[in-house]
Symmetry: C2
DNA sequence: TGTCAGAAGTACACGGCGTTTCCGATTTAC
DNA sequence: GTAAATCGGAAACGCCGTGTACTTCTGACA
């Protein structure tokens, strides 16, 4: 890597770092190329040497932030004994909320629409990280969920085959978890949604005005979730 | 109401209507006083006779949209026989998703951060509607949930008293549902979160890339939710 | 019916934004 | 040592929300 490339990479990193900081301090929508340039002692034009447009910068930010989330989730799961999938799910869920609370602007960037006019590119920027996240959750749900429970669940839900999944997703998921059953994949999506719900409400400020201890509420929901997954429901 | 007042009210309505339309067509962040004024054939400054600031307009929009959501939910519940709380919950949940799909920009306005620099006033604009929404859900959960189930749930969750609820919320909720138990109120929040999760993921575009039939997924989750509420869990 | 306070609305300005065009300076590569 | 590629600055365009100053019109009251 030549000197020029090194400098370029470093400047790129500095730009994204300042962008994330501005997102965190100024709140969503506080992202501005001019603001970044000002903080770097440059003209706004200079940034266009690194990112062709503001959306491209946002795309890079989303990629970075998603990777950070995926790392946090994997770290949390790995810190738990592998033989206890229920504990793994609990750890995953708690890590999701804790990461979101520690990086609210990141959470909004991925799961809300923090940047006004942004349109993500066709192959989503967070695709690679999203695959890691989904893969990890699929593995956990598959391990935690007795086949009977998933089957009973799928019989009720009518989700016993891969047909509702886009082929690209099926390929990705099966590459990560080869023997995954479609009903478990569908169940994992619902588990994801269940965790996402309370975290999203809390991050967007709709929970604290009505409940002062969101952590307890979330923990209760997680425990109930794991219990319902690991207990055959008949 | 004098002629002047009538004209004023009509212009106010026209402003909010165009604002909502712009939000829907231009996407979040497409809201601009200048754009509204242009469409009305006025100067941007003219709008300041009706809304002192852009945030005030957004506040009015949020109030209108929240009212619309509350209406949709209440209508859906009233269309179901009162004696079947499970069916009421299903209807409520389906109505939530359907309203969100029909008014994605409204959903983002309330539950995401659709408008960049907006800071809601201390007494939230959607407060009145939020009270109706929470009240309705609390009623449904209370009716659907056998006391034993709620108690067992609260024993696990440690939510057997009103202490984690802000006093203002307790007052509002008890005014709507006088004999509500705190464990049911907490459970209702979790139910809310559970519904919100999948809907939020879908509205923000995270579900369709991985599952082509979000309606079925959501229905399965709703059914399982109602089943777990109405079935004592021991 | 005439008058006049106040409301509605315009013209213009300010600073900030993303983005573009043009151009000078610096560094790399042959 | 020179040619090419890259980096970055100055200024401009057309947006945006908002403030000031001024005109026009309306409606209530004498």
């Amino acid at each position: 890597m030549s000197r020029r490339e090194r400098l370029r990479a470093e400047t790129t990193r500095e730009i994204t770092a300042i962008a994330l900081k501005q997102l965190a301090t100024e709140g969503p929508g506080g992202l501005s190329l001019r603001g970044i340039a000002r903080e770097m002692g440059m003209t706004a034009r200079a940034i266009y040497s690194y990112f062709a447009t503001r959306d491209e910068l946002v795309t890079a930010l989303i990629r970075d932030v998603s990777t950070s989330l995926a790392n946090a989730l994997e770290t949390a799961v790995h810190a738990v004994p592998a033989g206890d999938p229920g504990a793994g799910l609990l750890a995953w869920g708690e890590a999701l909320r804790e990461w979101a609370l520690a990086n609210p602007e990141g959470f909004r960037l991925i799961y809300g629409d923090a940047v006004p006019g942004y349109q993500p590119p066709e192959d989503g920027p967070a695709d690679q990280a999203a695959r890691r996240i989904c893969g990890g959750l699929n593995r956990l749900v598959a391990a935690a969920c007795p086949p009977a429970a998933a089957s009973a669940d799928s019989a009720r839900a009518g989700t016993a085959d891969w047909s509702p999944f886009p082929p690209s997703y099926v390929a990705k998921v099966r590459a990560e978890v080869p023997d995954l059953a479609p009903e478990v994949a569908a169940l994992a999506l619902r588990v994801w949604g269940r965790m996402h719900g309370l975290v999203g409400l809390e991050i967007h400020g709709h929970l604290r005005p009505v409940y002062t201890d969101p952590a307890a509420l979330y923990r209760a929901e997680l425990r109930e979730l794991v219990r319902s997954l690991t207990t055959p429901t008949g």
